[in-house]
């Protein structure tokens, strides 16, 4: 009980001293920008890294950035499994496009998971006018549009601003990259940077493809300044998937119609100048993408969902080792496609190696409007035996949408020359005495569990003791024996303390015993002698007299004096039997036992029964 109490106290104390500390201590977040001063026509790359012990870390919540338009540029993740613990870090990349000249502040970015939280330090960014734009836009005029969109003569049916969304292909396979381009056309000067609302995507995994592109184009005879945003889409399911409208809200510069003869001409002229801003909201047409399922025919067993074009390579950090040494194996899958949707790479069976749990890292990049990168699996191999051990070619199966078929890439096979290891501490199952750590002539090659024990019965001693523990009712027997011994001892003690009483109580038993002997006697004289002896001894025991010399007369006197309640016929029955037995004892030997002898025996037995009831002590 004391041990339990101490354990409980130790548990409670340790709990109170901070059992919950580790989770909170390991979640962290940091933010970095590639520059702290940026032109109005340029952009800032913000990288937010969240790291911690969980396999799925929380996404950072970006606060409202009033002076910037924010575009996600993707994320890269590193996950490590070491000794059963998962540590992970995710870097989220954002592209910030300034909206106005002045100081821009990125407030603290917070993350929280499982009760723990962390946040970054605020970052200040100075937004300066674009180079060479001083002449186009008055200095210090906030909200003035960059110089990119410029006024142009209006073409027939060509609006001032418009948004067009396009896909690079009308149909694609599940998990194949499709590039969505959203183009914002402006033929008139913009008052400040526009606000962009990306299209609603359902059934897609999206990755932004920075940077923004700016160029000029002519539509229906009208010149436009175009801003283009590209997004890589990976459809997650087959069917006709809808892409919603992209919306742009902006203020454009329009020429107000000022009547020089109006009474308030001067008031309006000085209040709004020659030009006036006008709010515009434009949206693109929704799009539909036809997504084809991956063909079931020819799908290999090891296919885990990778779509694109990949290659696989493997390498070990050493080509010579000893048994028990650690050899680092790196398997890299690189190529174009959605690496995040790629299943785990399964290593082939390596019976000559002990394989530790692998750690995986993903490095994703976007080049040429294509999502690409590499996924690296690192693990530790420990050779179990010596010799030239091979790491066979590691296969990786993917679907190539261009070729419309499944392709299996393979790494080159590897080989490691393994020498016998140094003798180490005993690791094999003990046999008798503990093995010496470095017994001469013994070389520990491998450590493993001992073999099966199928059919091995428990030792006899174990079975005996377990049977004793589970004996159940048999446990009562020793108690019964002790009770019997105690009762017997008590009875014998009582006999020793009252010998006359003992004689009195045992008289009938002894008399019946002699009667029994008389039945088996050889002749009637011997039988009569035994019966006579039984009668005399019975009466002597009951009357507490010595049997020797006891006569019928003495018996009658004693019965009348000590047993006044005994009826007279009983005494006469005793006398009759006594006499009959005497006559039989001294009768001639020719008279053998017959019917008369049996009647005397029965009469004597009945007499004993009656006397046992009538004689009182």
């Amino acid at each position: 009980m004391r041990l339990r109490l101490a354990t409980a106290l130790a548990l409670a104390l340790a709990l109170a001293l901070g059992a919950a500390a580790p989770a909170a201590a390991q979640l962290s977040v940091s933010a970095q920008v590639n520059r702290t001063q940026v032109g109005l026509d340029d952009q800032v790359v913000l990288a937010v890294t969240v790291s911690g012990p969980q396999a799925s870390l929380p996404d950072p919540q970006l606060p409202a950035l009033s002076n910037f338009s924010v575009y996600s540029s993707g994320r890269s993740q590193n996950i490590s499994f070491v000794n059963g613990r998962v540590s992970s870090s995710v870097t989220h990349t954002f592209v910030l496009v300034p909206r106005a000249v002045g100081k821009g502040l990125i407030p603290p970015i917070a993350v929280s998971a499982q009760g723990a939280s962390a946040q970054t330090e605020p970052i200040e960014i100075q937004v300066v006018p674009p180079a060479g734009a001083a002449a186009a836009a008055p200095a210090g005029a906030p909200g003035t549009a960059p110089a990119r969109p410029r006024p142009a003569p209006a073409g027939a049916g060509a609006p001032d601003v418009m948004v067009v969304a396009e896909l690079d292909k009308p149909r694609a396979f599940v998990n194949e990259q499709v590039t969505l381009s959203v183009k914002f056309y402006a033929a008139v000067p913009l008052m400040g940077n526009p606000e962009y609302v990306p299209p609603k995507l359902e059934g897609f995994l999206g990755e932004d493809l920075p940077p923004l592109r700016h160029y000029d184009a002519e539509v229906k005879g009208r010149s436009y300044g175009v801003t283009e945003i590209k997004t890589a889409l990976f459809p997650l399911q087959a069917g006709r998937l809808r892409i919603g409208s992209a919306v742009v809200r902006c203020h454009v510069q329009v020429d107000p119609s000022v009547d020089p003869f109006s009474p308030d001409f001067f008031e309006r002229f000085f209040s709004q100048g020659i030009t006036a801003p006008q709010a515009r909201t434009v949206a693109s047409q929704p799009l539909v993408l036809e997504v084809l399922p991956l063909p079931p025919q020819g799908r290999p067993a090891g296919f885990a969902g990778a779509v694109g074009r990949f290659s696989v390579s493997a390498a070990v950090d050493k080509d010579r080792a000893k048994v028990g040494d650690a050899v680092n194996l790196s398997v890299s899958v690189q190529g174009t496609g959605n690496l995040k949707a790629m299943g785990e790479l399964a290593l082939p069976a390596l019976p000559s190696w002990r394989v530790f749990e692998p750690a995986t890292s993903v490095n994703q990049q976007k080049q040429g409007d294509l999502v690409q990168g590499s996924k690296v699996i690192r693990t530790v191999l420990v050779p179990r035996v010596s010799g030239d051990l091979a790491v066979p070619a590691i296969p990786f199966t993917y679907f190539d949408p261009a070729r419309r078929e499944y392709v299996q890439a393979r790494s080159a096979p590897l080989s490691v020359s393994v020498a016998p290891g140094d003798p180490g501490p005993a690791s094999s199952p003990g046999y008798g005495a503990p093995a010496a750590p470095a017994a001469p002539g013994l070389t520990r090659v491998n450590e493993d569990i001992a073999y099966l024990k199928s059919g091995t019965a428990a030792p006899a001693a174990t079975r005996l003791l377990e049977a004793a523990a589970a004996a159940g009712p048999v446990h009562a027997l020793p108690f019964l024996f002790l009770g019997w011994a105690a009762g017997s001892a008590f009875y014998r003690g009582r006999l020793a303390s009252d010998p006359q009483g003992a004689r009195f109580r045992a008289a009938l038993k002894r008399a019946r015993s002699r009667l029994h002997q008389a039945q088996r006697a050889a002749d009637h004289r011997q039988a009569a002698g035994l019966m006579s002896e039984a009668l005399v001894n019975f009466l002597a025991d009951k009357l507490a007299e010595p049997a020797a010399g006891l006569t019928m007369r003495r018996v009658a006197e004693l019965l009348q004096s000590r047993q006044p309640g005994i009826p007279g016929p009983t005494i006469e029955r005793i006398r009759a039997v006594w006499g009959e037995l005497d006559s039989r004892r001294f009768a001639p030997p020719s008279a053998g036992p017959g019917g008369e002898g049996a009647s005397v025996h029965d009469e004597l037995a009945a007499l004993f029964r009656d006397l046992e009831k009538e004689l009182k002590r």
Binding site: L15, A19, G430, L452, A460, V474, H475, L480, F481
Partner: protein, 244 residues
């Protein structure tokens, strides 16, 4: 004399081991590398004969080879509890425990003392206690009947028996044979122990698979677990723990 003969007959019966049929089937699957199949077979056999330590041990081997370290440790622990003197069972349990960051002999404990403490299983200790009790009762009965025996046996034998009954009772109580604590093994790959019985409670700490824990209480499908060595406790879904 009849009770003594009856008792002897009942006790002698288990000395002849019962024949176990079809054991080579599990062994065959194991030898062929079909560890899931072997584990299923041994699990069925062990359920049919829960007092067979060898079947528990074999089940542990199949589970371990199948990569289920937590369940293997639970099975090895049961086998070790039944046959603590078996070197193979001790080795395999220790080997599997080291995978989970534990050792069979706790750090700081002298190995010989640990082995002595675990010389007998709890059932063996209970059996020894009963045999000592029987011996004491029979001797007491004989002494009541024979005065000569009383002088010859007392007080030496009586003192030895009383000492053994006292020591054995204490040993059995400490080993948990009288009021056994609920024990378990983590069988999830990385278990997150929470501050309360539900997903809404925050994660307090993580425990690797194969770690032995004490089951303190239960609340629905959640168990409150304690780690004595670290002095911490937390809640985990019952499906992530195998009670021993």
């Amino acid at each position: 004399m009849t009770p003594a003969l009856l008792a002897a007959a009942l006790l002698a019966a288990p000395l002849w081991p019962s024949a176990r049929a079809d054991v080579p089937q599990g062994q065959k699957l194991y030898d062929q590398g079909d560890y899931p199949g072997a584990a299923a077979w041994y699990a069925q056999a062990a359920a049919a004969d829960p007092r067979d330590a060898a079947l528990r041990y074999d089940l542990g081997n199949a589970l371990f080879k199948d990569g289920k370290t937590g369940r293997a440790i639970a099975s090895y622990q049961r086998a070790f509890d039944m046959c603590p003197r078996d070197a193979d069972m001790r080795h395999n349990l220790d080997y599997a425990l080291r995978r989970a960051g534990e050792e069979l002999v706790p750090a700081g404990a002298p190995p010989l003392l640990f082995l002595a403490f675990h010389l007998f299983s709890e059932r063996e200790l209970a059996g020894l206690q009963w045999l000592a009790c029987w011996l004491a009762l029979i001797l007491a009965g004989l002494c009541l009947r024979r005065e000569s025996l009383r002088e010859a046996l007392l007080p030496g034998t009586a003192t030895a028996l009383a000492l053994w009954l006292g020591l054995g009772g204490w040993w059995l109580a400490v080993r948990g044979g009288i009021s056994p604590p609920r024990r378990g093994v983590i069988v999830a790959s990385s278990a997150e122990l929470r501050s309360g019985p539900g997903e809404s409670f925050s994660v307090s700490f993580t425990v690797p698979e194969g770690r032995r824990v004490q089951v303190l209480s239960a609340n629905g499908a959640w168990l409150e677990l304690g780690l004595v060595k670290e002095g911490v406790k937390g809640w985990l879904p019952a499906s992530a723990v195998e009670e021993i």
